[in-house]
Assembly symmetry: C2
Homo-oligomer: 187 residues x 2
DNA sequence: GTCTAACAAACGAACGTTCGTTGGCAAGAG
DNA sequence: CTCTTGCCAACGAACGTTCGTTTGTTAGAC
């Protein structure tokens, strides 16, 4: 009989928040997921809101780490863009729960944490805009669309990937990266 | 003292469902929005779920009408694609509440209505895929991406527009249509 | 090695509040 | 008079959370 750790609780919370939404998930639901009573969760966590903060925070951290790694890639701006896209797909596909919760459930955060997440998202979008600008400058990226719009379009595609892509399909992740680059006129 | 009609109730429900989500909206919230008690809403509507069905249904109808109109456009497949994109943007921007609720709150529908909406979405995506195939065949569309993926990418961009586009900005809707076409390599 | 003190994890009952919903009644418009 | 609209009071269920208690494990003292 193995008992549950805080890690288990946060993981299960991510799963339920991602699929049913924060408001659509009750502490009793979450307890049931772990074979516990709802009240037992309070041995591990201070409040339901704390759980959301934790899950969303993990999502934010994953995206942040991804963009940091891509920034260290040397080569042309196009190489860096490719790395950013691949990294984004990995986050969104390998950490579906945290990614979805980060992207969709931020509105349920208290205003302090919500605005933190919002500026994290803005910084993230800026990184995409910047690499597009650099690629236009050094000639490694020929995109007909201006960087500000192109970054938004790219992220729209990337954020939606989790809704339809399956790893066991015919399209590999590497091919998916190429498809995205090709679609946006970079390749 | 003007009294409220069912129309007002459905419109307010759309507004709240779109911004706070279905589960995040209480009947008392909704009543407050109209200067009523929550219980008074039951003079207009059978249940909260009925309201969601109504709002989502309106969203579905708007998208359906848009795609039907675009289908009647004569010219090349590219002309029809342009019309589909413009129509989608109009739905999503002129009927933000119904559009958002249709796109984001379907999971809160009872399973019967949910699967109806899901197949409506599939038919809608099929229409995009088909026009891309036709455009490849008649040579009016040169897209490097295969139609199935291209349709998904296009819809990912279009569905996200409502999150960032403002009508009072520098970018007109017509220009936005061009940007989308250009980004996807059609123009 | 045993006894004991501490701790983490979970239970079960209950708290106050909010939820969706119902039913009876009043005011006003056609 | 009737029909629509809304108020009011109330319902049972579910909500997040707190509390005192129980259980199993871990660590140190004897």
């Amino acid at each position: 009989m193995s008992r549950n750790t805080k890690e288990d609780v946060v993981a299960a919370a991510g799963r339920l928040f991602a699929t049913r939404g924060y408001e659509g998930t009750s502490m009793r639901d979450l307890g049931g997921e772990l074979g516990l009573l709802g009240s037992s969760l309070y041995s591990h966590v201070g409040s339901k809101q704390d759980l959301l903060v934790e899950v969303v925070g993990r999502g934010a951290e994953l995206f942040q780490r991804s963009i940091d790694q891509a920034g260290e890639v040397d080569g042309t701006a196009r190489d860096r863009l490719r790395s950013m896209i691949a990294g984004h797909l990995d986050v969104v596909l390998d950490h579906r729960d945290e990614g979805r919760t980060f992207l969709n459930e931020a509105r349920s955060l208290d205003s302090e944490h919500r605005s933190e997440i919002l500026s994290a998202r803005n910084r993230y979008e800026s990184a995409f805009r910047t690499v597009l600008e650099e690629g236009t400058a050094d000639g490694s990226i020929m995109m007909d669309t201006e960087p500000a719009i192109g970054a938004i379009f790219l992220l729209s595609i990337l954020n939606a990937v989790e809704r339809w892509y399956r790893d066991d399909g015919k399209l590999s992740r590497a091919d998916l990266v190429d498809e995205v680059l090709e679609f946006s006129g970079v390749l």
